[in-house]
Symmetry: C2
Subunit: 221 residues, 2 copies
DNA sequence: TCGATTTTTGTACCATTTCGCAATTAATCC
DNA sequence: GGATTAATTGCGAAATGGTACAAAAATCGA
């Protein structure tokens, strides 16, 4: 059992704007921050290896509060995964939207991915989808659906990226956006896996560079 | 607690040749088969989610026997992973050795990989390295070393494959075997992940076909 | 043939951990 | 003070990893 010994001086919660005003005893935690901590733990240890006590310690909430706020362990896991996907999506969507050369766009996308995979105090944490969600996917249809959606979303984003590049004449007519997109996704997946095995950032960047060269043609070498 | 109700009529063990003759009570199990069952379970559920009772039920050995034969849970996991890698290696090594065109060699390698990833009664099981070992890799140096070795072995095998192809004139001079090898590995990784999410074989084969086309040049389309 | 020896099996057990929840107490608003 | 919401304590049933110990099944030696 993990309990905090923090004096009950309730952390002043910055009165959320928009919300009318909470009635009873104020929360001693911020749901968004707590969910972030839970996400970090699940990402590091996976579902089964992460106990509610671990989560309790990491979030600073005790188990009943956790339960009340997020539901049981599986629900918390799913909410964490949703949060992860929102974050990842947010960090990429701008790069996909803005106008720029394909090569630059790809470079930025992979840089963003590496930042996600390599961040974390206690060693690189990899990709939630690849490292833990894919494991749970066999047995849990809901998680599997999320994984599948994540995979196809990435494929689609890359495909439209290559389609635009082709229209702009950056790629030869023979280029097949769908095939290139799957290669681009595969490159994401391979760096996700390798980052988990603590392959140094330098090597991952080499892999990315090589893959980009193959996809959009080597840079005036 | 899971116990078998099998009558104690000890399964006649096919007197192993070579081994001088075991002294005490004969084993009621075959270590190789039991290890295979353990491997299947770990592959399906991962390390933490697989209990000793699960393993006991799957192997038909009770826990003390399991412990005596393979050591504790972690040791059994590592032995399972070693077994997996030997099996995977065995299914590929011939394909890498024999003389044949690159394209055909790649097609066969990926077919072998898909057979590994998609076999299993209760849904596709994916790749041990990608699905569970990579997860454990962050926290366990020994497992991490095995994962790293597996990754680089694959890279090397593909690299030498492309090097030979280049020497035989099957690839343009501009082709970089190391870069192509990493793409080939990435393709392995992406189908490993997707197979876990139950992407149908047909789609995985499409991905493989597209990747091969990019790596060795599209087949006279 | 028969007991000693060796090795494995089967049963039971232990200490911990795990998830979940009920009951109580605390803080805030009305 | 009453209502409302949350925190805290602590329980409990089940599962978990690991082990002690005796019974069982084989070989070996005399």
């Amino acid at each position: 059992m993990v309990q905090k010994s923090k004096p009950p001086a309730a952390a002043k919660e910055p009165q959320r704007r928009g919300e009318p005003k909470r009635r009873g005893r104020p929360r001693a935690y911020e749901p968004e921050i707590a969910l972030g901590k839970a996400l970090d733990l699940f990402r590091k240890q996976g579902f089964a290896a992460t106990s509610l006590d671990d989560l309790s310690a990491a979030t600073g909430m005790n188990r009943p509060s956790l339960y009340g706020a997020f539901g049981d362990k599986r629900e918390l896991y799913i909410k964490s995964y949703q949060r992860y996907r929102e974050d990842a999506r947010a960090s990429m969507v701008e790069i996909f939207r803005q106008e720029m050369p394909v090569r630059q766009r790809l470079e930025r996308i992979y840089a963003a991915a590496l930042n996600i995979y390599l961040s974390g105090e206690t060693g690189p944490r990899g990709c939630f989808t690849v490292v833990t969600a894919a494991s749970e996917a066999v047995g849990d249809p809901e998680i599997r659906a999320m994984v599948l959606e994540g995979l196809t979303d990435l494929d689609k984003a890359f495909a439209s990226c290559f389609r635009r590049a082709k229209e702009k004449g950056e790629l030869p007519d023979s280029a097949d956006p769908a095939v290139l997109a799957q290669l681009a996704s595969a490159t994401i997946h391979t760096i996700a896996i390798r980052s988990r095995a603590r392959v140094p950032r330098k090597e991952l960047e080499e892999i990315v560079k090589g893959a980009i060269d193959v996809m959009v043609g080597a840079k005036s070498s």
